[in-house]
């Protein structure tokens, strides 16, 4: 199992991040906690993508394809929010 020490480290990091987000519920509810939860989720995603999905080794096109899905989802979210966030604002 020695050869997989690096993977174990990655797992430990992921579980630590999970513990962090779980622990955040002990604090009193506050607006920043949603952002914190999402930030931690993004970090977990990055760790899994880079190490478990081996994007660290596969550069170039594979990374572009990997990022394309998220980027396009961002386009949808931003433009739909441009409608919902400004309803009743300009009237």
């Amino acid at each position: 199992m020695k050869a997989s020490r690096d993977l174990l480290l990655v797992l430990a990091a992921l579980l630590a991040l999970l513990a962090l987000s779980a622990a955040s519920t002990l604090l009193p509810p506050a607006p920043w906690k949603t952002a914190a939860g999402l930030a931690i989720a993004m970090m977990k995603l990055a760790v899994i993508a880079l190490y478990f999905m081996r994007l660290r080794e596969h550069r170039g096109l594979t990374r572009v394809f990997a990022a394309a899905g998220l980027f396009w989802l961002g386009l949808l979210a931003v433009l739909v929010l441009s409608d919902y966030l400004t309803r009743g604002r300009l009237h």
Binding site: L61, W72, L75, L79, V80, S82, D83, T86, R89
Partner: protein, 532 residues
């Protein structure tokens, strides 16, 4: 080789009918798609014919409103998802792409055949929904009508479209990987024919837009099935969210329909004007620009839907910007004819028809992108005329042009030139007589999806129906002479148009493995010798 029969090629390689259903050859899968979408085209066209005849009388004497509502839904769903979207990419794209990049086949042949079966499964479900009683929500399935109030077979049709969506996704995936990985040696990106560029841009849209359609239809069906959902206004849901998600797919989908047509037209202009496309790199980048910008403009379908004012301004601006690359392409096509040596064969007639009608379609798109005008003409026949000019005037003309251009390569035989030219002209005239009056109807305020209408719109509707008859005749002719030429046409030889492009460097019809030895590309695309 005997003069009167073309070499056997891929058509004779796998004998028997069953072979067609197990084939992994991209050329045969292209033909499978050709037969199936022609069938669906006829169903959709029949529905259109019934609607046009029904609209002959303002009071709707021929059929009741419910039947009319089911007819326009059938016409919309079948024509869009089972003819327009698969037409050029799945028929011409499947057949020509590997040949045009010098490959043996697409990257994932089994996935290619699977996508045809998925397409037919979706089609079967939609046909069941139609036969069992039809759907009256329109192809847009707007909630809450589709999810709560309609009593048609919405679930079956939505499931059929959901499944057919995966056929688009797998085709797009296949083409993207094929173009990246299987290009012949020396075939760099800027040596690719523009038809391959257009398939690449279309595949990006297919892959990135269709999943949103899948999830939108899934949520709508969930709401209809369980009686509760995310769009139901009675529990605080917002029907506009359905429109946002639906149009996020459906506007890029109209670019899925037009981009391959633009690619075909670029090939035809280059071949029949015997000149390199004017501004080749700008044309290629314009295709990608349209594909990318096409994702940002869907809000122009919702200018009057009580969407926020700010969003209306943003989407109107972006809609004007997405029209720029289309306009630039039209200018480049015209510039290509300059100092060319032009022959008006049938494909060229279709290409010129495309440019003329697409220009009108594009310009009327500017009317719709500008907010104040859209408030007046949204939901009227102006919109119906606009999208028919772009889709039928544009995409179908390009599709027919492409079919005639590559027909010698597909069948190894030539089609009868003069009948083909006359049918192209008939289609052009019939089309204009059908849809130009609808611009006027739209400005005068006749709403779309109306089974009965006030008498003052009567005359223009009669003209439109007359035009539809001529257009119908125009479409019937190729259905007759093309199959005839498949068996009886004169042998075409490898390069009847002596065009550039790798597909013309192999036999007609090509052998199953396309090329005896993989071609090496050294020249720039469309490097026709300067005219004498």
């Amino acid at each position: 080789m005997s003069a009167d029969a073309p070499p056997p090629g891929y058509l004779a390689a796998e004998p028997g009918i069953l072979a067609w259903f197990r084939t992994l050859d991209h050329k045969r899968i292209g033909l499978l798609y050709l037969f199936s979408i022609t069938g669906f085209f006829m169903i959709g066209a029949a529905a259109a014919a019934c609607m046009r005849v029904a609209l002959l009388s303002p009071q709707g004497n021929l059929i009741v409103s419910d039947t009319y509502n089911r007819l326009f839904t059938l016409h919309g769903v079948v024509m869009i998802w089972f003819f327009l979207i698969p037409a050029v990419p799945n028929v011409l794209g499947n057949f020509v792409l590997p040949l045009a990049i010098g490959a043996r086949d697409v990257a994932f042949p089994r996935l290619n055949l699977a996508s045809w079966y998925i397409f037919m499964a979706g089609g079967a479900l939609v046909l069941y929904a139609i036969a069992a009683g039809g759907v009256d929500t329109g192809w847009t399935f707007y909630t809450p009508y589709s999810s709560t109030y309609s009593n048609g077979h919405v679930m079956a049709m939505a499931a059929g479209v959901f499944i057919a969506g995966f056929s688009s996704i797998f085709t797009g995936l296949n083409f993207i990987v094929t173009i990246h990985r299987l290009r012949a040696p020396g075939l760099t990106w800027f040596r690719l024919p523009l038809f391959v560029w257009s398939l690449y841009a279309t595949s990006i849209i297919l892959v990135l837009a269709t999943p949103i359609l899948a999830i939108t239809l899934f949520l709508m069906a969930l709401e209809r099935g369980l009686g509760v959902g995310v769009f139901d206004p009675k529990i605080g849901g917002d029907p506009l969210l359905f429109q946002h998600l639906f149009w996020f797919y459906s506007h890029p989908a109209v670019y899925v329909m037009i981009l391959p047509g633009m690619g075909v037209v670029s090939e035809l202009f280059a071949c029949f004007a015997r000149r390199r496309i004017f501004g080749y790199r700008v044309m290629a980048c314009a295709l990608l620009a349209i594909a990318a910008l096409g994702f940002l403009v869907w809000g122009h379908h919702m200018f009057v839907s009580s969407q926020s004012l700010y969003a209306g301004l943003v989407f109107s601006l972006l809609s004007f910007l997405v029209s720029v690359p289309s306009a630039v392409k039209v200018f480049n096509w015209t510039a290509t004819l300059h100092r060319g040596s032009i022959r008006l064969d049938t494909p060229m007639l279709y290409a010129l028809g495309f440019v003329a009608l697409f220009t009108i379609g594009g310009l009327t798109g500017l009317f719709l992108a500008s907010l104040a005008v859209d408030v007046h003409v949204h939901g009227t026949y102006f919109i119906v005329a606009h999208f028919h000019y772009v889709m039928v005037g544009g995409m179908v003309m390009a599709y027919l042009g492409g079919i005639h251009y590559w027909w010698p390569k597909i069948s190894g035989r030539l089609y009868p030139e003069w009948i083909a030219r006359s049918s192209a002209v008939i289609i052009f005239l019939g089309f204009n007589l059908t849809f130009f009056p609808q611009f006027v109807l739209g400005y005068l305020g006749m709403p779309r999806r109306y089974a009965i209408y006030p008498p003052e719109f009567h005359t223009l509707n009669v003209c439109s129906t007359a035009g539809a008859a001529v257009l119908g005749l125009g479409y019937l002719l190729p259905l007759i002479y093309l199959p005839w030429s498949f068996f009886r046409g004169a042998p075409a030889g490898p390069n009847p148009w002596d065009a550039t492009g790798l597909e013309w460097r192999t036999a007609s019809p090509p052998p199953p493995h396309n090329f005896e030895e993989t071609p090496v590309v050294t020249a720039e695309p469309y490097d026709y010798p300067p005219p004498p």
